[in-house]
C-alpha cells in the first residue's frame, strides 16, 4: 500500500515526508524564536511561517543526494524547509544560529547562509538577487560538463527588482541553462508591498522578456508547488532551459523578529491564516484518506522532538575561539593576529 501513488505520483510515505518537512521547518523556527527571546540567538531571524509549502515543495522533486552530484538549490534566508530536505539537519541549523564552533560555517555566518556543495546547497549572501547570477554559472557548468543536473534558485518578490536578478536570469536564459527560478511572491518585501516593487500583477509576466517558460502555482499548496517545480525541473533536465515559477503565498510574520507588522491589514492576515499550508495539507490528507489524525499528530510530535533534541544539544556546545576569525580567508595566506595581542614588536634596528 505504501507503494501506491495517491496524488502527483507520490506514495503515502512520500506525502508524509512532505508533511514532515513543513512541520519540521515550523517547529525549528518556533524553537528559534523562543531561543531569541531568551537571548540565546542574536541577529535577524527570518521566518517562513505560512510559506513552508514553497520551501518544501520546491526542494522535494530535486535529486537530493548528499554526495555532491545531485541537483543544487540556493535557498533564501527564509527557506529552512528546503535546506532540511537537501540534507542539512536541525542540529546544524541550531548550530548556525547559535554560532557554534561545530556549525557548518564555523560561526562565520548566521542561519541558512552556509554552503554545502555535497548536499547541493548554496548559501545566500546578503544582497538579494545575487544567487541567480551564481546559479547561472552552476547550471552553465552542468551544461558544459554534460551532466543532467539542475539548479534551483529560491528568491523573493522584492529580489526581482535587482539588477542581479535580471543579469542572472537573462544569462541563464540566453545560454539555455538547466535552471529554475522560483519567486516566492509573499506579498511583501520587508514593509514594501509588491505594488511598489513593480507594476506587474504576476511575475510570470517577466518570462516572455527572457524567452523562458513560466508557471504560477498556489504557494500554500505543497502539492501544487511540487508539481510545478517537477515540471520545471524536468524541462531543465531535458535541455529545455530556464523556467520562472511564481509561488503565490503570504509572509504571515514580520520581516524579522523586530517587525511588528503594523503595516499589514489584520483581515489579510486572518485570511492567510486560514490558508495555512500545513493545516491545509493536513485537512486534505485526512479528507482524501491519505493519512490519519494519529499519524499526522505523531509526525508533528516527532518534528518537535527532533527540533528540541537538536536545540538542546546545540545550546550546550561552545562558540568558536575568537582567533579562528583569522582562518580560511585565503587558501594559502596566513593572517597574523593583531600586533597588540602578541609580544610587542621591537621595530628598532637590531
Amino acid at each position: 500500500m505504501d507503494e501506491q501513488t495517491l496524488v502527483a505520483g507520490l506514495t503515502r510515505p512520500q506525502l508524509h515526508e512532505l508533511f514532515y518537512g513543513m512541520a519540521l521547518a515550523r517547529a525549528a523556527e518556533e524553537r528559534l524564536e523562543t531561543q531569541a527571546r531568551q537571548g540565546l540567538v542574536r541577529g535577524n531571524l527570518y521566518r517562513s511561517l505560512g510559506q513552508e509549502a514553497c520551501s518544501v515543495g520546491v526542494a522535494y522533486p530535486l535529486r537530493r543526494r548528499g554526495d555532491g552530484i545531485g541537483d543544487v538549490l540556493a535557498p533564501t534566508v527564509r527557506d529552512a524547509g528546503a535546506v532540511f530536505l537537501m540534507g542539512a539537519t536541525p542540529l546544524e541549523y541550531f548550530r548556525q544560529f547559535l554560532s557554534r564552533a561545530t556549525s557548518p560555517s564555523r560561526g562565520r555566518e548566521s542561519g541558512l547562509g552556509f554552503t554545502d556543495l555535497r548536499r547541493g546547497l548554496l548559501g545566500p549572501i546578503g544582497s538579494v538577487g545575487a544567487m541567480l547570477e551564481v546559479m547561472a554559472g552552476v547550471t552553465l557548468a552542468f551544461r558544459m560538463k554534460g551532466e543532467d543536473r539542475v539548479g534551483v534558485v529560491l528568491c523573493g518578490d522584492g529580489s526581482t527588482s535587482t539588477g542581479a536578478w535580471h543579469e542572472g536570469l537573462n544569462l541563464a536564459a540566453a545560454r539555455r541553462c538547466p535552471m529554475v527560478v522560483a519567486v516566492i511572491a509573499n506579498a511583501w518585501a520587508f514593509s514594501t508591498p509588491t505594488s511598489k516593487q513593480t507594476r506587474i500583477g504576476s511575475f510570470t509576466e517577466r518570462a516572455p522578456g527572457y524567452g523562458v517558460h513560466a508557471e504560477s502555482a498556489d504557494g500554500n499548496d505543497v502539492i501544487a508547488v511540487l508539481e510545478a517545480t517537477r515540471r520545471a525541473v524536468e524541462r531543465a533536465r531535458a535541455g529545455e532551459g530556464v523556467t520562472l515559477l511564481e509561488l503565490r503565498t503570504y509572509r504571515r510574520v514580520g520581516h524579522a523578529q523586530h517587525d511588528a507588522l503594523e503595516y499589514v491589514p489584520a483581515a489579510e492576515l486572518e485570511e492567510w491564516e486560514r490558508k495555512d499550508p500545513i493545516l491545509q495539507f493536513l485537512a486534505r490528507m485526512l479528507a482524501e484518506d491519505w493519512s490519519t489524525g494519529g499519524e499526522l499528530a505523531a509526525l508533528v510530535h516527532r518534528a518537535e522532538l527532533e527540533v528540541k533534541d537538536a536545540a538542546d544539544l546545540a545550546v550546550t556546545e561552545g562558540e568558536p575561539e575568537g582567533v579562528t576569525a583569522l582562518e580560511a580567508v585565503y587558501s594559502d595566506v596566513e593572517l597574523r593576529a593583531p600586533w597588540t595581542r602578541l609580544a610587542l614588536p621591537d621595530p628598532r634596528r637590531s
Binding site: S99, G158, E319, T340
Partner: protein, 341 residues
C-alpha cells in the same frame, strides 16, 4: 497644518537630550522643512520608517512624493537620485544597511562622482545609512564602506561620532553641492551615554573639518565614528594608570581629509596611532600615514601605528566578532607602546 511632527525629531526643540539616531532624524527633518527640494528615497523608509525607524512619521508629514519607498534597486534609486539632483532637487538616499551600497558602486563611482567633472554642474545628493559591527549582524550587515569610496575623487565621505556632529553634518551634507556618503554607526544610534542636548537653533558642522575630542601632549590618536569613544576610553585608562596624555582627533569627515588637524596634532605629540573599526589592509590609516610623512615626518618620534579590525569578513559569532574588532585593550596596549617608544 494638521500634520504632527514625529516625536523623535522634536527632542531638541523641547530642550531634551537626544540620541545619535534622533539627532540625524532631526537634521533630516529640519532640512526637509526648510527646503522643499530635499526628499528621501530608499527601501522601507516610508510606512515603516526605515529599518532603524529613523524616518518614522516622515511619510505622514511630508507625503508620498518626498518620502519614497523604492523597489530593491540600490543602483536604480541611487542613479535616480542623481537624475533628480540634475533637475534641481536634493535627494537623500537611505541604504537599509550600508553594506547594500555595493550594487550601486558603478553608478556612484562612474556617474555620480564624475558628473561635475564632466560638466553637469553641481550634483548635490546624500547617500546615508547604518554601518559597522558589534551587532552580530554577520558579514553582510556589519560593514564599513568608507574605503570602497575613499579612492574616488568627486565624492565626500562623512562619519560622525556624536549627536551634535551627526546633526550638524547631515545638515551640512544636504546643503553641500557635492555628493556625500554619510555613515552612521549602528552602535551609536541609541547608545544612552551619547545622549546630548543640542542647540534649539539651526546649526551645521562644516564638512572637511576634524575635531579635537580630547587634548593631550604625548600621543595623538586619529580616529572616527564609534572608535572615537573606544579611543577616549583607552585614553582615560592610560591617563589614569600611566599618566599618558593622549590627544584624540575625531576626523568627522574622511574625504576630504583634514590634513591640517592631523599634522598639527602630530607636530605637537610626535606620535600617532590611527584607530579604525574597518579592516586593516587598505584602511584609511594608510592615507593618514602618507600625509603625515609628507608634512610631519621630522616631528615623528615613533612609527605611525594602527589598531584596526583584522583582514577578514565580519564573522557572525559574537566571540569571533569581538576578536575581529579592535578593542579598548588593543588601543591601550598601542598607546603604552608608543608612549614608551
Amino acid at each position: 497644518m494638521p500634520r504632527t511632527k514625529p516625536e523623535h525629531v522634536t527632542g531638541s526643540e523641547r530642550g531634551e537630550p537626544v540620541t545619535f539616531l534622533e539627532a540625524i532624524g532631526e537634521g533630516l527633518f529640519e532640512e526637509m522643512e526648510r527646503d522643499p527640494s530635499v526628499f528621501l528615497l530608499g527601501e522601507d523608509i516610508g510606512v515603516y520608517g526605515g529599518a532603524f525607524k529613523l524616518t518614522r512619521g516622515f511619510l505622514d508629514f511630508f507625503g508620498e512624493e518626498r518620502v519614497i519607498d523604492t523597489p530593491i534597486s540600490e543602483a536604480g534609486f541611487t542613479g535616480a537620485a542623481a537624475g533628480a539632483a540634475h533637475m534641481g532637487l536634493r535627494p537623500v538616499v537611505e541604504m537599509q544597511y550600508m553594506d547594500f551600497i555595493s550594487p550601486a558602486y558603478d553608478i556612484i563611482t562612474n556617474y555620480v562622482a564624475t558628473s561635475r567633472y564632466r560638466g553637469s554642474g553641481p550634483l548635490p545628493m546624500v547617500i546615508r545609512g547604518p554601518v559597522g559591527g558589534g551587532n552580530r549582524g554577520g558579514p553582510f550587515h556589519s560593514q564599513n564602506v568608507e574605503m570602497a569610496f575613499f579612492h574616488t575623487p568627486g565624492l565626500k565621505i562623512v562619519y560622525p561620532s556624536t549627536p551634535y556632529d551627526a546633526k550638524g553634518l547631515i545638515k551640512a551634507s544636504i546643503r553641500d553641492e557635492d555628493p556625500v556618503i554619510f555613515e552612521e554607526h549602528k552602535g551609536l544610534y541609541r547608545a544612552p551615554f551619547l545622549r546630548e542636548t543640542l542647540p534649539r537653533e539651526d546649526f551645521v558642522v562644516p564638512l572637511g573639518k576634524a575635531r579635537t575630542a580630547r587634548e593631550g601632549k604625548d600621543v595623538t590618536i586619529v580616529t572616527y565614528g564609534l572608535m572615537v569613544h573606544r579611543s577616549l576610553e583607552a585614553a582615560g585608562v592610560v591617563q589614569q594608570e600611566d599618566g599618558i596624555q593622549v590627544e584624540v582627533v575625531d576626523l568627522r569627515t574622511l574625504l576630504p581629509l583634514d590634513d591640517e588637524a592631523i599634522v598639527a596634532s602630530v607636530r605637537k605629540t610626535g606620535k600617532i596611532l590611527v584607530v579604525h573599526e574597518d579592516t586593516r589592509t587598505g584602511g584609511i590609516a594608510g592615507e593618514i600615514a602618507m600625509r603625515v610623512n609628507e608634512r610631519a615626518f621630522e616631528w615623528l618620534d615613533a612609527p605611525i601605528l594602527r589598531v584596526t579590525a583584522i583582514d577578514a569578513p565580519v564573522p557572525y559569532s559574537g566571540v569571533m566578532e569581538d576578536y575581529f574588532l579592535p578593542q579598548v585593550t588593543d588601543i591601550v596596549t598601542a598607546l603604552r607602546y608608543l608612549a614608551n617608544y
